[in-house]
């Protein structure tokens, strides 16, 4: 492999100013000698300069709404499954309740933290705010959150349950969770029945990890009364949709 082949891709990173700084001078030596790469740089440079004009928040909002869509789709599918199960086992009364709960979930889930906001000082991302379904507060809200770290999986959960007229709002903050994997949140009622109130994916970077320090914050809903909830359970779904492991249990 000659110099040009191995360095071919670096022209874009160089134009964007994101080439590893140790490689910049090495790359410039190559540029001085390779007119093909120098011409490519001239071609790409206007695009990289114009990029500086873009407010990343504009792009950000697109990504956010995409993620919200995906999350809502996952929840919808999940609710349909859950509804079918309920209908078979418990009968029509519960099915109506589950359908109502489903409606509440669709209205209530918000992806609160789809992209890290830490980063470099002065990062434009510091001002990013999620635009979908503005909740009144980004934190868990008033009340006493319950914190649990699972001794086996290391997954850390902070949960807050808020009783409302329509049921219970369940806000969770997840960290120390690695990916990629798909998860579900279950509400376990006092009578032992279970209800899936949402599902989501954890990307390869995880949440609340070294690579992605921000936790995942989700807000979900159930028609169940606050006093009727005994436990929250976060579990992992295998690719075929079967339950593969419990990641954390939060006693209420």
């Amino acid at each position: 492999m000659d110099g040009h082949e191995s360095l071919r891709w670096d022209v874009a990173a160089y134009a964007l100013g994101v080439l590893d700084h140790r490689e910049v001078e090495r790359y410039e030596l190559h540029l001085a000698e390779c007119s093909a790469c120098a011409a490519e740089l001239e071609f790409l440079l206007p695009a990289s300069r114009l990029l500086a004009d873009v407010d990343p928040n504009d792009i950000q909002s697109v990504e956010d709404s995409r993620l919200v869509d995906r999350l809502l789709d996952a929840v919808r599918i999940d609710r349909q499954r859950a509804r079918r199960r309920h209908r078979i086992t418990v009968g029509i009364g519960t099915a109506v309740a589950a359908a109502l709960a489903g409606f509440a979930v669709l209205g209530g889930v918000t992806w609160l933290d789809s992209f890290p906001t830490d980063n470099v000082a002065g990062s434009p991302f510091e001002t990013v705010s999620p635009e979908a379904d503005p909740p009144d507060d980004l934190e868990l809200g008033p009340g006493e959150p319950i914190s649990v770290t699972d001794p086996d999986t290391g997954v850390s959960v902070e949960a807050l349950l808020t009783g409302t007229d329509w049921g219970t709002q369940v806000s969770i903050t997840l960290s120390e969770v690695t990916g990629p994997r798909e998860c579900q949140l279950l509400v376990v009622h006092r009578d032992g029945t279970e209800e899936v109130v949402g599902s989501w994916r954890v990307p390869a970077t995880g949440y609340g990890t070294e690579e992605r320090p921000e936790p995942l914050r989700l807000r979900l809903a159930t028609a169940a009364d606050r006093s009727d909830i005994q436990q929250l359970r976060i579990r992992e779904l295998a690719e075929d949709g079967s339950v593969s492991a419990v990641l954390a249990v939060v006693p209420v």
């Binding site: 990173a13 964007l16 000698e33 990289s48």
Partner: protein
């Protein structure tokens, strides 16, 4: 100007020396000319500090070197400045419009391409850092950055933004 000089004169000289085959006097002239142009165009280049102007300097220095080589001082200097406008930000008045067009062009890219540009350019991460965050092999991240920027360049061209 002092800052420009301190930051870029030396690496730029190393670069130009190669173009001039080691002719130090000529190389220094070219570096001086390049930095003068950069300084005159500083307001157009946008001082966001987000993008290093080094790639721009290198490109301009190379052009000057090539033109010098072809014919000594055959072209009036204003010609350069006109050409440089295609690299620089042309006019403040249509800044908003252009920014909207560029945003639109960015949105037309695939998710993977937008994602890699977000992780590198907008987050200020190097390619290896972004590869790490996205869980990509370094080679994949490198080629993705390349194809993403190319796709953006073409999307901008379609919208008549770049000259």
């Amino acid at each position: 100007m002092r800052m420009l000089y301190d930051q870029h004169a030396n690496p730029l000289l190393m670069f130009v020396l190669r173009l001039t085959g080691g002719d130090r006097q000529r190389a220094e002239d070219i570096v001086q000319e390049t930095l003068m142009r950069a300084w005159r165009n500083a307001h157009k280049l946008g001082a966001q500090g987000q993008t290093s102007i080094r790639p721009w300097l290198v490109t301009v220095a190379r052009r000057i070197a090539i033109d010098n080589h072809r014919s000594e001082n055959a072209r009036p200097t204003e010609m350069y400045d006109q050409e440089l406008d295609s690299f620089a930000v042309a006019d403040e008045t249509d800044h908003v419009l252009r920014s909207m067009t560029v945003t639109e062009a960015l949105r037309s890219l695939s998710y993977a391409h937008r994602e890699i540009l977000l992780e590198t350019f907008f987050r200020g991460r190097t390619v290896p850092e972004a590869a790490n965050v996205l869980g990509l092999p370094l080679g994949t991240a490198k080629s993705r950055v390349y194809y993403a920027l190319r796709a953006l360049r073409l999307a901008l061209e379609q919208r008549g933004v770049t000259g």
